[in-house]
């Protein structure tokens, strides 16, 4: 028998039945009486002053209940305290194509859409900035007046002595890497339903309830409070099922605020659901990134120093930008032993939809550069890429040069696992022409050790209620978004209490009912909310044990609890499980029958879970528990400016090998298989861990092979799921997940992150495999056929191809005007009359 009875076993998610029957409710599935439909008017210009808005014609349309504009809610907000630069609707100025200008609430979608056409807006276009390196030179027409040179934030960190490190190096590699922009493309478009109640005392509009597709219900509650000037206690945020987030719902998305503002104006519930195109405008994805990377090594492969300059094209608002640019630098550490680091990060504003947090936040594009460069160095020095990684391993427990504490460290085993499974040693370099193997590693935080709003308060709290029916109800603020947070919580509580999973009900993410939890981002839920659940359950267990000890006349240490039974250590379990489990006390519990009580008071050797619960309630007068988690002080990082981002109580580790073949005639790359070993501390639910790891690798594969947002003058040219091309089943190869369990000393049952860390390794594993296959080093992602072909042709000195504008993706210099390679020579199709480029030509600007 395993050490544990509930955790460590693959089980179906506790909410899986509702998903496969269609009974589960997502926000857009909800309706309330009197509900109106909200539709948003978006800016057709990337950068323009709003000179006049006239909503009178729209208001006059029969069926329109309210029309709101920026002036109706001008308070600024933003996910980061340092980045409060957004308003519900534009106040005076629009900053990207798709920026929010006005919102109509009407009795039907059709009428709302017609009303949008009746809103007259007079714009005065301003020069717009699309390229971050150009934007950084801006001196006038700034995107935000308080951000000189359109730089949202820059950081310059030095750890150790990089100059000395480079002097000591036998070889120094230096190159520029470019990763284009990707977005979450979660299957559920964002949706929010906002409804006010009437206060019985004042007779006026009172409390607000918001149902929303969010990863962060408590931040939403907070920002709604800022914008609406309503106390947080008057706002209830409920998170129904969420159809995927990946970071795209980890901050306040404009429609969430707009729905509430519109509902307030309409005096009626308003639901807004984005169209897929609006989801692309809301964006908050991974910024396109320029990485200038320099690595110094000794001849044996040991890294002596790293210098890294990162420029991120952040879009028009701060969003999570300051955190993103910090993660890019901080997580240079904690994967390998790097003694000296210099980091220069620039988060730059441009007139494009805001970038934010996306799976592997801040680390992915830098990891692509870093692991690619390691591979280049290994090739240069004649080292095995696996050996290059082995020689640079950390020696935990340790604190890295930039202040990150590493305890559990499964990376060595991850490397060995993928080497063995892929038969790396036997096959690498011996495959047929055009076929290759590539390796890369990555890591990620198990939650940030410092919260966004700096505080010593717990990051997670979980409450438990156990009543006389023997049912265990868990109240957690953690946001289930499909990653399995509710299931994880139920498993941990059941394991600690020794009860069956079916007893445990999870009530989650409802700010009126559940205690605060910061939300589902930075892979924090299992580690932090899991630890809080563990502590809450231990508190309850202590009370059950003390009552049971009295009833069984033994010391508390000798009370055993497992599988719905409580017994005295050493007593044989004489009864069959079913007989003990229930039936003895049913019907009697509520009446508190004296007869039953006498029967129950007899000295016992063992009890059912219900009996033990009733005994505990009898003994203590009630049975509830609370557990909280705040990361330990030792894990919170250094003291330098920006030190708050990067530290985590634990890091996950991943090593991957990709096998690809490359068609040199067409540039088409075929992925045959990816082996991915991931150290998740302990797999609480192995099937869910595998799902997370495979999903991460697969999403990395999308970014590596085909996904990119294509821009023309700030307009996203491929705002649809077919045009954006996230991989379908025919483009998805076999991914073999190997779980490595390093058992973290502070994680709940040793568990840590599983949902993000694997993503970053996939992109360089593939580029390294392409190099192994055909000897071209792609330094610009994604590795689309035209890029691969251009690289292969450049290697052979063949004629350059038009599709990449003649650019050799092995040596990219800048972002090309339209981001990717689909639209070249500035000949993007004019999609509709609102296209800003076309507007400027035909109407001279003003509408």
């Amino acid at each position: 028998m395993s050490e544990y009875s509930v955790i460590g076993k693959s089980i179906a998610m506790v909410d899986s039945a509702g998903k496969s029957t269609g009974a589960g409710k997502y926000t857009d599935d909800l309706r309330v009486t009197g509900m109106l439909v909200g539709r948003i008017l978006h800016s057709p210009y990337p950068h323009a002053m709003i000179r006049r808005i006239d909503t009178s014609k729209a208001r006059a349309l029969v069926g329109v209940v309210a029309v709101v504009t920026g002036e109706d809610a001008p308070n600024q907000y933003g996910i980061l305290p340092v980045g409060h630069d957004e308003t519900a609707l534009a106040v005076g100025k629009v900053r990207y194509v798709g920026d929010n200008v006005a919102c109509v609430a009407a009795v039907s979608e059709e009428i709302a859409d017609r009303a949008l056409e009746l809103i007259e807006v007079e714009y005065e276009p301003l020069p717009a900035y699309f390229d971050p390196e150009q934007s950084m030179k801006a001196e006038r027409d700034l995107i935000h007046e308080n951000r000189p040179n359109n730089i949202e934030k820059d950081y310059h960190h030095v750890f150790g002595d990089p100059e000395k490190g480079f002097e000591e190096a036998d070889y120094v590699a230096e190159a520029r890497y470019i990763a284009n922009e990707v977005t979450h493309a979660a299957m559920e478009p964002h949706s929010t339903l906002a409804s006010f109640e009437i206060d019985p005392q004042t007779g006026k509009q009172g409390r607000l309830t918001v149902w929303s597709s969010t990863q962060v219900p408590y931040y939403l509650q907070h920002k709604l409070s800022l914008v609406l000037e309503l106390p947080m206690s008057q706002i209830r945020v409920i998170k129904p099922l969420v159809g995927g987030g990946f970071g795209g719902k980890s901050e306040i998305i404009p429609l969430e605020i707009i729905a509430a503002v519109t509902a307030r104006a309409a005096n009626a519930p308003v639901k807004i659901t984005y169209t897929r195109e609006e989801v692309f405008w809301a964006h908050r994805g991974r910024p396109r990134t320029i990485v200038d990377l320099k690595t110094g090594v000794k001849n044996d492969g040991r890294i002596t120093a790293v210098a890294c300059k990162v420029i991120q094209d952040g879009g028009a608002y701060c969003s999570y930008g300051v955190v993103t640019i910090l993660y890019s630098g901080a997580l240079l550490g904690a994967l390998y032993d790097i003694p000296n680091i210099r980091y220069d990060g620039y988060r730059v504003l441009t007139n494009k939809p805001a970038c934010g947090a996306m799976r592997g936040h801040g680390t992915v594009n830098v990891r692509f550069a870093f692991e690619s460069q390691m591979d280049e160095i290994a090739a240069k020095l004649g080292l095995d890429p696996a050996e290059m990684r082995r020689i640079n391993l950390l020696k935990p427990p340790t604190v890295t040069v930039n202040g990150l504490r590493v305890l559990s460290y499964g990376l060595p085993e991850c490397v060995e696992q993928v080497v063995t499974r892929s038969r790396w040693n036997e096959r690498r370099g011996k495959l047929p022409k055009g076929r290759g193997l590539g390796m890369a590693c990555s890591h990620y935080v198990s939650g940030a050790a410092n919260s966004i709003i700096r505080s010593d308060m717990p990051h997670s709290t979980v409450n438990l209620k156990i009543d006389r029916d023997g049912g265990v109800v868990v109240y957690t603020g953690a946001a289930e978004i499909g990653q399995g947070s509710d299931t994880m919580t139920a498993q941990i509580v059941a394991e600690v209490l020794g009860c069956s999973l079916s007893r445990v009900k999870v009530i989650a993410a409802d700010t009126d009912l559940t205690p605060i939890d910061l939300g589902s981002y930075s892979s924090r839920v299992t580690f932090m909310s899991g630890n809080a659940a563990l502590r809450a359950a231990e508190e309850v267990k202590k009370n059950i044990v003390s009552a049971a000890a009295q009833r069984m006349e033994c010391s508390p240490e000798n009370v055993m609890m497992a599988e719905d039974r409580v017994w005295k250590r050493g007593t044989e379990l004489v009864c069959a499980h079913e007989e003990v489990a229930s039936g003895h006390v049913d019907g009697q519990i509520l009446r508190g029958s004296v007869l039953q009580k006498r029967k129950d008071e007899a000295v016992k050797q063992q009890m059912s879970f219900e009996e033990a619960v009733v005994a505990a309630i009898d003994f203590h007068g009630g049975l509830t528990g609370t557990g909280s988690y705040a990361p330990p002080v030792e894990a919170r990082g250094g003291k330098h400016k920006g030190a708050g981002v990067g530290p985590s109580p634990a890091y996950s580790y991943s090593a991957q090998v990709a096998e690809v073949s490359v068609d040199e005639e067409t540039g088409v790359v075929t992925i045959h298989k990816i082996w991915a070993a991931h150290d998740c501390g302990r797999a609480l639910n192995p099937v869910a861990v595998e799902g997370q790891v495979i999903g991460s690798v697969w999403m990395g594969l999308g970014q590596a092979m085909q996904e990119e947002m294509v821009w023309k003058d700030g307009l996203v040219m491929n705002p649809g799921l077919l045009e954006y091309r996230s991989p379908s089943s025919v483009e998805s190869p076999e991914i073999e997940c190997i779980i490595v369990e390093s058992v973290d000393p502070e994680g709940p049952f040793g568990a840590k992150e599983a949902g993000e860390g694997s993503l970053a390794a996939t992109i360089p594993a593939i580029s390294n495999a392409i190099y192994d296959a055909v000897g071209v080093r792609l330094r610009e992602a994604p590795f689309t056929p035209e890029r691969v072909l251009a690289a292969v042709r450049a290697k052979h000195g063949a004629k350059k191809i038009e599709m990449t504008e003649g650019v050799d993706p092995t040596e990219p210099k800048t972002f090309r005007e339209h981001g990717g390679s689909l639209w070249y020579r500035g000949r993007g199709p004019e999609r509709h009359a609102e296209d800003p480029a076309r507007k400027a030509v035909t109407a001279g600007g003003a509408q």
């Binding site: 997502y26 599935d29 990946f246 990653q483 099937v687 089943s729």
Partner: protein
């Protein structure tokens, strides 16, 4: 536009409805009949989250006019459960991690249900091809194959047992 009276047969029940001639089948299912299992993921038949079956054939409800399907047998995800319990496919998707966020799952249910009804023993390639009409952003599809394989194998074993019993 004036509404017109239509009769739709959905999951074995007949409904008389007043809808606009341009009303989409997906909107009618979701808004008029409260069958919210079918989802809207893309608006333009890219993603397959709205997949329903029309006379047993998997189709995308987001780009079809409701009024065109009078007289058809329309099946939505709400109509494929096995009595009051989960159909084998629905159970397997839970057990093998075939759904994570679950938003695409109803569409996959209808696609795979349609596939297995017409081809009870598909090859891996056939499964892969059939699934390509639907997008999922969580799973990378791997665990779906395991779920579908398990259902096919269970069905196969069941048939073998029946044959043996004869």
């Amino acid at each position: 536009m004036n509404k017109q009276l239509i009769e739709l047969r959905v999951n074995g029940r007949t409904h008389e409805l007043a809808v606009q001639p341009n009303a989409l089948l997906l909107d009618v299912l979701r808004n008029e009949l409260a069958l919210t299992g079918s989802k809207c993921g893309c608006d333009d038949s890219s993603c397959g989250a709205c997949t329903v079956q029309l006379d047993g054939v998997a189709m995308l409800a987001c780009t079809m006019l409701a009024a065109s399907f009078q007289g058809c047998e329309i099946t939505t995800v709400e109509g494929i459960a096995d009595g009051g319990g989960l159909a084998a496919l629905q159970k397997a998707y839970g057990d093998f991690g075939g759904s994570q966020c679950g938003y695409c799952t109803p569409g996959f249910m209808m696609t795979v249900h349609g596939l297995l009804a017409s081809n009870p023993d598909p090859t891996d390639e056939e499964i892969r091809a059939a699934l390509s009409s639907n997008l999922c952003r969580c799973t990378g599809y791997s665990q779906m194959y395991q779920a579908i394989r398990a259902v096919i194998e269970a069905e196969h074993a069941h048939r073998q047992k029946e044959i043996a019993a004869r």
